[in-house]
Amino acid sequence: MNIHNKRLNKFLSAAFVTLIYIFLYLPIAIIVFFSFNSSKLNVVFQGFTLQWYGVMFQNGDLMSALKNTAIVAVSSVVISVFIGTLAAIGMFRYEFKGKSIVDSFLYIPIVIPEIVMGISLLAFYHILSISLGILTLILAHVTFSMPYVVVTVRSRLSGYDMSLEEAAMDLGATRMHTLTRITLPIIAPGILAGAMLALTLSLDDVIVSFFTTGVDSVTLPIYIFNKVKTGVSPDINALITVIILVTLLVMLLMRTFDARTSKKEQA
């Protein structure tokens, strides 16, 4: 083996990795780039401008879609985290008849095609004559995100030592205190991961939302989706840039939180 070959190897692997990252990030970079473009078309760059960021905030439809998305995301995350965490703890702790059936039914929303779920929910709401709107949207989002919360919380619980709860009660803690002082803090990383997953799912869901939303509860992904048919306007580029920024920020925060908790627990 000679040095020449080694160099070539090194170069090839570096090039390969670079290509992968270009493939992943170039589309995003282009969107960000064109959000500063003074031309209305995403084809040629005519000059730098921040005007689309202003336009974005004046676009009433866009802002109401953003508001709806936020409402749906926050409500569905809160509800699915609450139900999902309790379900995970209950399923972990108690043995009951039909547990395995309940268990497998829990995973169906994860594997079922979204289109099937969307249509079923639509039919379901129709039968109950619930008019479509923000409420049906929230319920739909809870339906598909809750199982993910259960799964992440349960995986966190799998290493959980039940004698910790016995120890807490032995030391005078009621069941409620045991839950709030021992169980929840220990499984908090799992709950947080579940919440993040549910949030992401809710934020960019198109298919299920498409079937379960009403006229005045259009969410951002649906709005953008509709807009794409007539061409993406630059203010959407601006909005996407903002979303990317927020996502990066949240990821950074998660990273530091993660690093802190794992440092605390280093086994």
């Binding site: 004698s163 016995e166 120890a167 032995d170 030391l171 005078g172 803690a173 009621t174 205190h177 627990e265």
Partner: protein, 377 residues
């Protein structure tokens, strides 16, 4: 052991525990005195841990009463019982440091901060862990965790401390050291200790009284020397220390002197309360067994020296009887040993035997057939 008083601190009254059809604890009656160090000893699956957990309140009783300081607590949850537990796996809260772990019980009782600080400090000194306040459980060794677990329980000043094989996970040397420390701690504080272990040596070292459990019942309860020297059943004779056990038949009775015969010979033992022709067990400790080249009056038991096993301070000699039974004899190392293959007469002092009624036998055989499952939920 001055603190052991006549006051009954914990009483189990006709306690039953079953999981479905599986009876784990059967009609258990036990009184534990204030300041006493009581050990529940038995093989895994004998119900000792379940019994401890019923006192703590982690398990419901199927029937019977658990009385702590004169009050039946069977319907009280663990957090309303004035007992604390030290768990086998320590069960320290991983998201809290040592200080917060120890302070947990006091914060639950809403003790003021200043007093908590003082009491946690006292406890840390008591278990020799000063300066470890900010350590996390993951940053400590097994022995240190065990000390913190003990401090966390004792800081609440419980009337009774329950210990579930607390030293099981420690290495031998540390275990021996902790045994002594725990015993000192118990005497110093005068708290009633209920200690569960399967280690018979540990129980002999530490306890005021030992309750030997098997298959959900207490086979014998008493001070260590009594349990060792006067086992009440074949199980106890077998489980505590080593025993040479013969199935024998009583051929003649003369006062306290019994002549017995067994498959491979005959012997004289001293015991009372037995009948002519009764089937009995004769149990002789290895250190009480003797052998001689010449015949010994009263004994007709021959064997062959099969091998010597060096165990440190003592040496064990295995003597094989004509029927294949191996007798264990232990001698202080340094005592001249008989050569291997030598035919010898085996004997013992009449008073060094324990004679047991065989009606235990049927029970014992039954026990052997029951699958032994340690039930922990």
């Amino acid at each position: 052991m001055a603190q052991v008083s006549e006051k009954v601190m914990v009483e189990l009254h006709n306690v039953d525990k079953s999981y479905g059809d599986n009876k784990v604890v059967k009609n258990l009656n036990l009184q534990i005195q204030e300041g006493e160090f009581l050990t529940m000893l038995g093989p895994s699956g004998c119900g000792k841990t379940t019994t401890l957990r019923m006192i703590a309140g982690f398990e419901d009783v199927t029937a019977g009463a658990v009385i702590i300081e004169g009050e039946n607590v069977v319907n009280k949850p663990p957090y309303q019982r004035n007992v604390n537990t030290v768990f086998q796996n320590y069960a320290l809260f991983p998201h809290m440091n040592v200080y917060d772990n120890i302070a947990f019980g006091l914060t639950e009782k809403k003790v003021n901060k200043e007093e908590i600080r003082q009491r946690v400090g006292e406890m840390l000194s008591l278990v020799q862990m000063d300066g470890y306040e900010t350590r996390r459980p993951s940053q400590m060794s097994g022995g240190q965790k065990q000390r913190v677990a003990i401090a966390r329980a004792l800081v609440n000043r419980p009337k009774v401390l329950l210990l579930d094989e607390p030293l099981g996970a420690l290495d031998l040397k540390l275990r021996k050291q902790m045994q002594v420390e725990l015993k000192h701690l118990q005497r110093q504080l005068g708290i009633t200790f209920v200690y569960v272990t399967h280690d018979q040596e540990e129980s002999l070292t530490m306890s005021d009284r030992i309750a030997v459990m098997n298959n959900g019942v207490i086979e014998q309860i008493g001070p260590p020397d009594k349990i060792y020297n006067r086992p009440a059943t074949k199980f106890v004779a077998d489980f505590i220390g080593e025993s040479n056990i013969f199935e024998a038949s009583v051929v003649s009775i003369n006062g306290d002197n019994l002549k017995v015969i067994f498959e491979t010979g005959g012997a004289e033992v001293s015991a009372s309360g037995f009948n002519q022709d009764e089937m009995v067990y004769i149990s002789v400790r290895p250190e009480k067994l003797k052998c001689s080249i010449d015949a010994v009056p009263g004994f007709n038991l021959r064997g062959t020296v099969k091998e010597h096993i060096y165990v440190g301070s003592i040496s064990k000699t295995i003597i094989e009887l004509p029927n294949g039974q191996n007798l264990k004899m232990s001698l202080l190392t340094g005592t001249p040993l008989l050569p291997q293959g030598e035919n010898v007469w085996v004997y013992w002092e009449k008073d060094d035997t324990v004679v047991l009624h065989t009606n235990e036998e049927t029970l014992y055989n039954l026990i052997e057939q029951v699958p032994k499952i340690e039930v922990r939920v």
